[in-house]
């Protein structure tokens, strides 16, 4: 039985561009189920990243509602949202965005530290997952000493280390060559299958779209499924 995890109702986002309203999203109604491997595709400026940011509570909609496990999270306070994201979401960014002064292992440990998990346990879990996903050898490397693909794989492990319900990946392969992109996407598919983590991608990369179990096409702020 499919379990709903995220739902939007008439989601709208209007940006103010020097007094000119720009409609990024024009009423999105979307339901996403647990364990889905969903890709939101569309041309540049179609609203993919905006939708992803709203689903990930990084931004507030101008109109409409967002429900997480049937609870309205649209108007949660900033303080509550950081805690909510920590427990429920994992994020993968286009530019990897690892903390440059921490090693790969420490980057992965970081979100566990925010959850108050003791160091020994953090280290054990991080090593295990890195080993499982074949990046153990990167443990002591800092972002500057890793390739883009390596950084993105570390970012992916960081995103799932706390067993989030949903991982939001914004153009994760945009800066990678196709071979590295394949390795990364295979890894994420594995995590999706083995851990039943919901993956929501924003991408117009064919590699990503080809692996989608569900593909949403956004155009001018509207879904063309």
């Amino acid at each position: 039985m499919k379990m709903e995890i995220l739902r939007t109702e008439n989601l709208e986002k209007i940006y103010d561009d020097d007094g000119v309203p720009v409609h990024a999203l024009r009423g999105i109604n979307l339901t996403i189920n647990r364990g889905e491997y969903l890709v939101i595709a569309g041309p540049s400026g179609s609203g993919k990243t905006t939708l992803l940011n709203l689903l990930g509570t990084l931004d507030k909609p101008t109109k409409g509602k967002i429900y997480f496990e049937n609870k309205d999270i649209t108007n949660k306070k900033k303080r509550e949202l950081s805690d909510f994201r920590l427990h429920k979401f994992g994020f993968i960014f286009q530019a990897y965005n690892l903390i440059p002064v921490l090693t790969a292992l420490e980057n992965i440990e970081f979100t566990m530290m925010l959850l108050g998990i003791p160091e020994k346990e953090r280290r054990r879990r991080a090593f295990n997952l890195m080993d499982e996903l074949g990046i153990k050898e990167l443990a002591n490397k800092r972002p500057n000493d890793m390739s883009g693909g390596q950084q993105q794989r570390v970012a992916a492990v960081r995103a799932i280390i706390n067993n989030p319900a949903v991982v939001l990946a914004d153009e994760p392969t945009a800066n990678l060559d196709s071979k590295t992109g394949d390795i990364l996407l295979d890894m994420m598919k594995k995590m999706n299958k083995e851990k039943n983590i919901t993956f929501i991608f924003s991408s117009h990369d064919k590699q990503v779209m080809d692996r989608a179990e569900r593909l949403l096409i956004l155009k001018d702020g509207l879904i063309e499924e």
Binding site: R79, S82, F91, E106, T111, M113
Partner: protein, 404 residues
Amino acid sequence: MLLKLAWRNIWRNKRHSAIVVGSVIVGVIAVILMDGLTSGMLYQMLFNQISSSVSHIQIHKKGFNDNKVVQSFMPDYYKAEDVVKENTSVQSYSKKVVSFGLLSSASSSSGVFINGINPSGEEKVTKIKNSIVEGSYLTGNKREIVIGKDLADKLNSKLGDKVVILTNTPDGTISSDVFRIVGTYETFSSAFDKAFIYIPLENAQQMLNIGDNIHELAIITKDYGQVDKVKEQIASQLSDEYEVLSYEDMLPMLLVQIDLYKQSMFITDVIIGLALIFGIINVMLMAVFERIQEFGVLMSIGMKNSKLFLMIIIEALIIGIIGTVVGIVIGIIIEIPLSYIGIDLSLFAESLKSFGSGAIIYPVIVPENLIGVLIIIPFISIVGAIYPAYKAIKLEPVSAIRYV
């Protein structure tokens, strides 16, 4: 891990951090040297007064300190002397006859403060013997006089010259005696040198016609910190006819002056602290603006504002602590040799002489000042980081991530 992250963030931009740590170090060294120099000057002012004339404790007939009239000699100084002798905390003491008079040479005269002393006792209490610049200290012979070099110049007198002291006896008659200058001295204060003259105790008693009476017992205690306790002990053993005064009782104006200087020292420290605050705000703001995107990521992955705020504060605190500790170490390394060789402020010597501190200032390392610096400067660093940290937590994650 937050500490580790903060520590590594500091060294991410070594130049920025070096500038701010360097400014803290310079500020701390400035504070330490300023405090050391001012404390040294204040201590010298106080100890010069103590070692030249005031001593730690004085015993007189009650009321003598306020009204130094010749007939106010001690009622029974043998009794007071016994009490002083029996007190084990007393290191040395000196019997004195004290009076005002007029000292005249062949060409000039000047009002003076006459001190009739027992030379061997006095040298254990005051440092006049060590201040002799020409001739000798009182040798024990009759009718010798030691005067300040400035006074000798004023009177156009030199060693071996005769001078006449004119003074009042208790019954109001004028008394005078002739003395020969055997030595001149020079102390920290020209005002002192022009006023204080030293003659043998017996000559003073004879000239003033007060028998074997004295006006003052001046005491030096073994431990400077025990002055109040010793004063209380002695006072409790003497009747109400005596007054027992500590240097604090006798130098109220100097103590007020020292207090004022301490306040002005505090204001100087505050000004240096304010300069440091703005330096830290500047560097921490730069550090925040350089990392806006990173803060966006940290907020996105669930870092609470409080932790982000704390991280920036910790960074500033580490900078403050490093700068303070290094600054204190360098400050002490600079100050230790200076505290032995002194800083010669001869350019200002005249004003310093009238000030009572002497021309060479020996900086003093005051542990309380160092502890104060160790607490206040890191605290100032925290204050300087509050605004940048506030700016950081006010960022919206989504716009921060997009920030280029």
